[in-house]
């Protein structure tokens, strides 16, 4: 809850105190349990965020299995960082996306170090489901690869996960204005490559 005092009129000198209520985040109720390393709290937060985190990671690295491993590693890191965690449920959600993004950047570095063929072009024969569901399409993968790392993350956080500009700014460690700018430029670039559907 934030309280801001605004002057009504200069002549009267009466001040109106406007109170803006920030709606509670669904993860707020688990934040104490996370700090206390409670199994129940970790399970609840995992179920509440795993699809969003996995979708973001999948769009970033282009491979479902790798994306799920990155999400798992993120929760393992959360176990270590839990006692020092600050803030509320929003902060926790941002922390998780930030950790997933760092995991994806590590994956980029690992691939470039090994100079291997990009993962999305190798069919994963161990997956029993439809292989097309486990890979990004080559068209989308090519289009996303033309964006910078931060621009790509900003576009995916906004359009795949549905984060707000402020949340994207927190995840990327930048200002809200810069986050909006990254999203807009990235979307216009994708429109150019994939076609406009507006």
């Amino acid at each position: 809850m934030s309280v801001s005092a605004l002057p009504q009129t200069a002549s009267s000198g009466v001040w109106i105190t406007s109170v803006t209520h920030t709606p509670p985040h669904p993860l707020d109720v688990h934040i104490d349990g996370i700090r206390a390393r409670s199994n129940t709290a970790f399970a609840a937060v995992y179920h509440a965020t795993v699809d969003d985190l996995a979708s973001f990671a999948f769009a970033m690295v282009g491979d479902r299995r790798t994306a799920e491993d990155i999400v798992q590693q993120t929760f393992v890191e959360l176990v270590k960082a839990a006692p020092k965690l600050k803030g509320d449920g929003r902060s926790l959600r941002s922390w998780l996306f930030r950790s997933v993004r760092f995991g994806c950047l590590d994956e980029y570095r690992r691939r470039s170090r090994n100079r291997e063929v990009p993962h999305h072009s190798v069919p994963d024969i161990s997956v029993e489901d439809d292989p097309l569901q486990n890979q990004l399409g080559p068209e989308l993968e090519t289009a996303l690869s033309m964006l910078g790392s931060r621009q790509r993350a900003a576009v995916l956080l906004a359009n795949v996960v549905g984060l707000t500009g402020e949340e994207i700014a927190t995840v990327l460690g930048t200002t809200r204005r810069a986050a909006y700018s990254l999203v807009e430029r990235g979307e216009s670039r994708l429109r150019e490559i994939l076609g406009d559907d507006s």
């Binding site: 699809d51 996995a54 839990a82 559907d197």
Partner: protein
Amino acid sequence: MRWREHLGRARIEVDAATRERHLDTIDRVLGEARSHRTRPGRILAVAVSLVLLLPVVAFAAERSAPGDLLYPVRQAMERVNIRLPELDSASFDSQLDEGSGSSGTIPTTDQRPNPTTTTEPERDGEGHRSPTTSTTVPGRTETTLPRPPPTLPPTTTTIPERPPPTRPG
């Protein structure tokens, strides 16, 4: 296909088996994290336990008899108690040796006789002073310091003999 449709394909749902596997891993890591203390915390815990335990063990060992579990502790404590006075007397002797070892040096303040102390003369039964007793006057202490005689190096001067004068003629 437009760009929003493309991005919509990136949306996935994690299946139940994968969720189960992930939660098992998280539970295992949580269990390890709870049972594993930090290193400084463990060192501090051991140090505090030792400090608290030591007096209790010493107290119990003092009453132990041969054959008891703590009897070796009692023996060790007694050995330490015996050695401590030995160390003190040894250091005292060494200090004494240092103080009186070299002749010709002025003794330290501690070793000088205190001039202000007056020895009480012995009195006989009637209260007369004994003629053999002496009183030291304050401020007039005679200190004889043994000094080594000055040893000068022997000087030998050799005067060359003059030849007898020779008279001409």
